[in-house]
């Protein structure tokens, strides 16, 4: 799961930090996420964890913070497992 954090830090040139930029920051509201980056992130998660996202899942605001992304991926892996 640390790979997700590393990917986001590299892709968006940010550094998570408990005080200034905690892992539950909304990446859209913080202005970190753009359309290209969001699609790259989804591609990365699908490839890395061999999962796929459906449109219905994506309307549930699942992928907006690192914390949420981790939880979502973990839940999907558990279901698949």
């Amino acid at each position: 799961m640390d790979k997700i954090r590393a990917f986001i830090e590299e892709q968006f040139l940010v550094e998570f930090d408990d005080d200034d930029f905690p892992e539950d920051s909304n990446l859209f509201k913080e202005g970190v996420m753009d359309s290209f980056g969001y699609v790259q992130l989804c591609r990365f998660l699908e490839r890395e964890f061999a999962i796929t996202f459906t449109e219905a899942e994506m309307t549930g605001n699942v992928l907006v913070s690192l914390t949420q992304i981790r939880d979502t991926v973990a839940a999907k892996l558990k279901r698949n497992g």
Binding site: G31, D34, V39, M58
Partner: protein, 657 residues
């Protein structure tokens, strides 16, 4: 076309004024290589570097009235000058030249500021009233021609390009971090912004006066309007209206005493302009295009198709990444503004080719996408606005019709894009709904600055202060923002006027005509859902142009970006890589800037996102502007072999009542 410059209310010794005004004009003489003209008073001076287009022999400036009270320095063209002249003659005005300059002076003397809404053209002018010691500055309604002003002690300075101020003793340039934040966020300056402390642009559609006491007043004379007339009764009528308005607009813009050429992009808009130019003038024009080795950027097939179909004398300029890296410093110097992409640099090189082929005036397709909803931004606004009420199938179909040229908008990405749009379906930034997704890239670029103040505060205030926006639809609001930001702040300036005039070429835009915009507004979204962009515009000319061009989808004009610099490694990249160099710009977040530069210059091109590309271009252009304007270190293109234009008029009124 010309460059104008001047100063009023100055306490500089009057014997120094001739050198100062000559120096200011010299800095912008690329705009007007045909001749310099100046007039000098006891505490004022103004002048023109002229590119002679209409009545080359008699249109010498600065021009004055019969009594010698008013002095006019004028840059641009008023396309309906013949009609205005007839109207003024009917009022008893007698003319001595065939030039539009004289018509403008007479129009101001006759109607005052009420003359401005009557003018159809691209212009900026300065009119000094000797008796009242009052200056008027005015600018065309769309911002086709530039005009900047600045206070310098008691003096008010003005010029077509800010580089004229480099010649004013004691004038200091300083980049303004507050304006830079807004420019990085929005992608372009707002109408009054210059990027430099203490320098303002006169916004489009405004005039201002400075009276003897130095009091400044600004007036908007042409608020942007979208026609409220009825839609045509049928598609056939709509297409006839489009053709009629565009033909009239091109006809006006072919008024010139020198030959007019056309810039062909490969898209439908410039193809229409070339077609109408051929039909109206009775012979095919000279056409000019840029081409690229990179097939994902190149449109030479479509350019050739149009040139062959019309039989134009076509000139194509092959642009490589190395050309871009080499010309970048000069192009940035001419642009004077931070730039978010490199596509303006080929236009700087294209104007040189145009001039070398003896063409001083060109027409282009600029402005069509704003008027006829050509950009995907407008579709995206429609989709996001309706998102919450749509079912999954409709959303999927709509997404599939967006951004066909972007790799990350393919059908395999529908789930990810659904997640993205879900986040942007309700307005978060009041009045800026249409641009919120775009501004995410801007937020990233704004991280170049140390001060993390809101980069959108200035544009939010601009929108909130504008009552005219209240009655507009979401798509019209998106258009309004385009007409106030990207169009004047980049397309008409950094990519339009500045690179063209760098080599003495005047660019004219038939789609930026109020009659054309009125027609488009009456037609847009009345006959279709807007997702098939510019459908009726394309259909209106379907029988007159190659099908490959008519049916081609919107393909944004782009050029090699960061990869060009990564491959060519020009010396000046130290400006964005060296800690010492970056430290010269105290407002830059050096750590972020270096991290970005390293990533952009060392990663494979496919891994660099749009936002990183554009942020890199911003950083590079900001550091180059710092070098040329703030440090004044190796200002390009000044002491080269370019001959100084001849002095055509030098009027000395010092010591005269």
């Amino acid at each position: 076309m010309c460059g104008i410059a001047g100063l009023i209310h100055t306490d500089v010794a009057s014997q120094d004024l001739p050198d100062i005004i000559a120096g200011m004009l010299d800095r912008i003489s690329h705009r007007g290589p045909d001749g310099l003209g100046t007039v000098i008073g006891d505490d004022w001076a103004l002048g023109t570097a002229r590119l002679a287009i209409i009545d080359p022999k008699d249109g010498i400036q600065p021009m004055t009235d019969a009594g010698g009270r008013f002095w006019l320095a004028y840059n641009g063209e008023i396309y309906n000058y013949r009609e205005l002249r007839s109207e003024l003659e009917a009022h008893g005005v007698v003319f001595h030249t065939q030039c539009d300059t004289e018509v403008l002076l007479a129009a101001w003397l006759h109607w005052g500021a009420e003359c401005l809404p009557r003018l159809n053209g691209g212009f900026a002018f300065a009119l000094y009233d000797r008796r009242d010691r009052r200056l008027v500055l005015a600018r065309d309604r769309f911002g086709k021609r530039p005009l900047f002003h600045a206070r310098h002690g008691s003096t008010l300075l003005f010029a077509s390009e800010m580089k004229a101020f480099l010649a004013v003793p004691g004038f200091v340039f300083a980049q303004d971090p507050g304006q830079l934040a807004s420019i990085l966020g929005v992608w372009t300056p707002l109408p009054a912004q210059s990027g430099f402390t203490g320098i303002s642009a006169l916004p489009m559609g405004e005039w201002m006066s400075v009276d003897a006491g130095g009091r400044m007043e600004r007036h908007a004379y042409a608020p942007l309007r979208f026609a409220d007339g009825p839609a045509p009764a049928s598609e056939a009528e709509a297409m006839a209206l489009i053709r009629q308005r565009l033909e009239h607009s091109v006809r006006l813009r072919l008024r010139s005493d020198v030959e007019v050429g056309v810039y062909l992009s490969g898209g439908i808009d410039s193809a229409i302009v070339a077609r109408l130019t051929t039909d109206i003038s009775g012979r095919p024009p000279a056409t000019f295009s840029v081409t690229f080795d990179d097939a994902s950027l190149d449109e030479s097939t479509e350019q050739q198709a149009v040139a062959s179909a019309l039989g134009t004398r076509h000139h194509a300029l092959r642009i490589t990444g190395a050309h871009i890296a080499e010309a970048c410093p000069q192009a940035v110097y001419h642009a004077e503004m931070p730039a978010f992409r490199s596509a303006f640099i080929p236009m700087f090189l294209l104007s040189r080719l145009t001039r070398d082929n003896g063409i001083k005036v060109i027409l282009s397709g600029e402005g069509a996408d704003e008027a006829f909803l050509g950009y995907d931004l407008f579709k995206e606004t429609l989709l996001r606005g309706a998102w919450d009420g749509m079912d999954e199938d409709t959303r999927r179909q709509r997404i599939a019709r967006l951004y066909p040229h972007l790799g990350h908008y393919g059908p395999q990405e529908v789930a990810a894009l659904t997640g993205l749009y879900q986040q942007f379906s309700t307005e978060r930034m009041p009045g800026l709904f249409s641009h919120e997704l775009r501004f995410q890239n801007g937020r990233f670029s704004a991280r170049l600055l140390k001060d993390k103040a809101d980069p959108f505060a200035a544009i939010a205030a601009l929108v909130a202060d504008n009552d005219g926006l209240k009655g507009l639809s979401p798509v019209e609001r998106a258009q309004w923002l385009e007409y106030k930001t990207l169009l004047p702040g980049y397309l008409l300036s950094t990519q339009g006027d500045r690179p063209a005039l760098a080599h003495g070429v005047e660019n004219r835009c038939p789609f930026l005509d109020q009659g054309v915009i009125d027609a488009a507004s009456r037609i847009n979204l009345h006959f279709d859902d807007g997702y098939d962009e510019k459908r009726l515009l394309r259909r209106a000319f379907a029988d007159d142009l190659p099908a490959s061009v008519v049916n081609k989808r919107k393909f944004p004009y782009r050029a090699p970006d960061a990869d060009a610099f990564a491959a060519a490694r020009p010396d000046y990249l130290e400006l964005v890589q060296s800690e010492t160099e970056l430290a010269k710009l105290p407002f830059v977040d050096t750590a972020f800037a270096r991290r970005l530069s390293t990533k952009v210059l060392k990663s494979p091109a496919g891994e660099i996102s749009t936002k990183e590309n554009q942020t890199f271009l911003f950083l590079l252009s900001i550091t180059l502007l710092h070098r040329f304007f703030v440090s004044r270190d190796g200002v390009p293109g000044h002491s080269n072999s370019r001959p100084r234009p001849p002095v055509m008029r030098a009027v000395d009124l010092r010591g005269q009542p």
